[in-house]
Symmetry: C2
């Protein structure tokens, strides 16, 4: 470049794009494509991509850049085409939290309502659980379907639940691994690209985003959650998809249970018309949005009523049973939940004083669960599907001294003490009731035309 001023167009070079982002420049779509395609092919080495990721982390990505990144990552692999299916394809993505098992509930509801739910999910890492791990607590359940089998199951029962395949957004897989070891994970544009590229590769028409906020979420501050939600909704809109985001509370666990097999159990409870009120409410709300965006119902209210009726009639539960069977699982667990793995031992965390539950250190519940064997530190780690936490109180509840706050279900004595120490600090008991009970659905971020 130095030796040829004012001559032929200069070929694009990674180092110049790194410099541009370093100096707060905005990349063109072509530049983003060059980076992502070059990195996926291996033409751009890890050390250049990681320098660019750090520059992007610190300088930020514009909405147009986030959309271009999403699209480039999406097109790094296969984009599934389900256009032959006779109804809209809709999905939900959650940014993750403690006890968040709504995927297992709303997928059967929405499939029972006649839409298709082609759901590609992730595994747990860090303090949050993953849908795939929960499903694998069902004996025989296979989340590693080929794309052909994914299509077959989806066609047959309206829903299918698998993990990211090699064909789907390989750029995301490669970039995520690099972000993990270069401290470049928590950036809105990069998070948006990672989530949305995978979801849009599913060949969906509409997407409902559940962006968690609070002490148990990746985003602790509501304004950060909102900004991520807005960016993802905008990215979806730019790519011609209908997208809505709900900002929902994660200052305390969702539902009564956190773990793997217990979350399958609790999901079946809700599908049977029982279960915790908050979990049921959020599952119905998210289902209703899926019905609305998938044009199954003309209003959100009708979507809610449809979801409730599909639970009441047992059709949603039946759909879940079908799906488990089609993916090789023991579908008897739906009617005989004792067939799910259960922990051998239990102990209780009791309240040291009388008063009210005023707040929780919600993320620590997840950490404690991981310490008991129910989570991973590294991707290769195996997990104990049976360990669980059972929550007896919700924020605002009155608590007597010595009353049980959390029941710990575990298998390995040697892991208990450290988890117990952490759990003892998780519930803050106050003399007065909390000033405010966290609202479950805090805000909706809808598409702007």
């Amino acid at each position: 470049m130095l030796l040829s001023p004012d001559v032929a167009p200069i070929p694009m070079r990674a180092v110049d794009l790194i410099r541009k982002k370093r100096d707060s420049g905005e990349h063109s779509r072509e530049e983003i494509d060059f980076l992502i395609a070059g990195y996926t092919r291996g033409d751009i080495p890890d050390y250049q991509m990681s320098a660019w990721l750090m520059a992007a982390w610190l300088r930020g990505l514009s909405r147009a850049e986030a959309a271009a990144l999403t699209e480039a990552m999406l097109h790094s692999g296969e984009v599934v085409d389900f256009s032959e299916l006779p109804a809209k394809k809709v999905d939900k993505h959650s940014t993750g939290g403690i006890g968040d098992k709504t995927s297992l509930i709303l997928a059967p509801i929405v499939a029972a309502g006649g839409l298709f739910v082609p759901m590609i999910s992730g595994r747990g890492l860090g303090h949050t659980g993953g849908t795939l791990d929960k499903l694998e607590s069902i004996p025989g359940f296979n989340v590693n379907l080929s794309l052909a089998d994914f299509r077959r199951v989806l066609k047959e029962c309206g829903m299918a639940l698998i993990g990211q395949t090699r064909e789907i957004a390989p750029a995301d897989k490669k970039i995520y691994a690099l972000r993990d070891v270069t401290a470049t994970v928590e950036n809105l544009g990069l998070i948006c690209g990672s989530i949305m590229s995978k979801k849009l590769a599913e060949g969906i028409d509409a997407l409902v985003l559940d962006v968690k906020t609070g002490s148990g979420a990746f985003m602790k501050k509501e304004e950060d959650s909102e900004r991520l939600a807005e960016l993802m909704v905008d990215t979806g809109r730019r790519m011609g998809k209908r997208v809505v985001a709900l900002i929902t509370d994660m200052n305390q666990p969702l539902g009564r249970w956190a773990g793997h097999s217990v979350e399958v159990f609790e999901s079946i409870e809700v599908l049977n018309g029982r279960g915790a009120a908050d979990l049921r409410e959020l599952s119905i709300e998210l289902s209703a949005w899926m019905f609305l965006l998938g044009e199954r119902t003309p209003t959100l209210d009708e979507g809610r009523r449809l979801a409730e009726s599909l639970i009441a009639s047992g059709k949603a539960r039946d759909k879940f049973r079908d799906c488990i069977r089609l993916q090789g699982g023991d579908s008897r667990v739906v009617d005989e939940p004792d067939r799910l793995p259960q922990a051998a031992l239990r102990t209780e965390i009791k309240s040291p004083a009388a008063g009210y539950l005023v707040s929780t250190r919600c993320e620590q519940f997840g950490t404690a669960l991981a310490m008991l064997g129910g989570g991973r530190e590294k991707k290769e780690d195996s997990i104990d599907h049976a360990v669980a936490l059972e929550f007896h109180k919700r924020i605002g509840d009155r608590v007597a001294a010595g009353e049980t706050l959390v029941t710990v279900h575990y298998n390995d004595e040697s892991r208990l003490a450290a988890a117990q120490a952490l759990l003892a600090e998780c519930c803050e008991i106050g003399a007065q009731p909390p000033g405010e009970i966290p609202k479950l659905v805090k805000k909706r971020i809808v598409e702007k035309p």
Copy 2:
């Protein structure tokens, strides 16, 4: 880390140090040591180092961090011990510019004055020339001495001029290569570490820094040059060395010539008591500082007078002749400069109008020289030692229409047109004289206790 709260001390991890710098943290000496030693050994991969470099580029390094970085890089290799020599060891480093050949002049002066000058220099890259390349225009001159031969030549004639060996600051070599391809070169702390680690590895007692500023320097703004100078002086002080920095003008070439063999020629001119006034002035000024810091003279003025007398007596020139001979070069060039390679062709750049030379695009002179074959774009490129630019006017000089501004000495017709086009834009001719003639030595940055 996630799974073991409040237990044994956590081992240091590169990802945590990257995160710390990303979040504007200040590293401890141990953290810097861990990064540099780990990277030099290959335990820390390129992709983590490049993410850290970008974070450091954007967040900056404190003075303590820059000093720790310098020391860690210094100790990544061998630190030469010249304590057996009977006088102080002093050196000079320039941040580089057009026509800057003072090393070839002051090293013989200072060695003739009785101090030792163990100089490890670089090659040209981009628009600036390198001392090693200039020396190699002398037939037979060997810059690739082993450390043992370096020591022998230095002992014998008081000066030795070599390139960076494998033993010297290997961390710098590895990190510089990575910075070059990840847009993380131009950062004060990183530049300081790179320069100072190599210079301090020479086993010197004192160092004079010539920090260039202006249109032909890496740092175009005087305040940036000052900040770099202050950082390097501070780093030297922290490591127990005497260091001074002169901020000197690079808004026009230094001396009458730029190229390789012509710069050797012009250096010999100065050593013979001739040569351009500005080049002579700066060479004497830098030599005087080396005499002062090397405790050869009690005052700067006495240092200047000593330098002048060593030129007048021919002792400095004789020292240069000795050094060339000891490093395998044809020392007859000192007395018969026609033995240096000369370009076959020449052409002139003439002034389009009458007036005054008011400014130069000084960096473009270097770029034009490189385009003629006298520079490198990549490290592996070979260069034409004979191509040269001869400058006939200095800023403030009166110029007639059609008068020659620059004579171009070249060998390859095919390379001329592009260089000519660039050179035609390099000299700004104004109707009025410039308001200010750039001062050669703008400022001194001295050690603060």
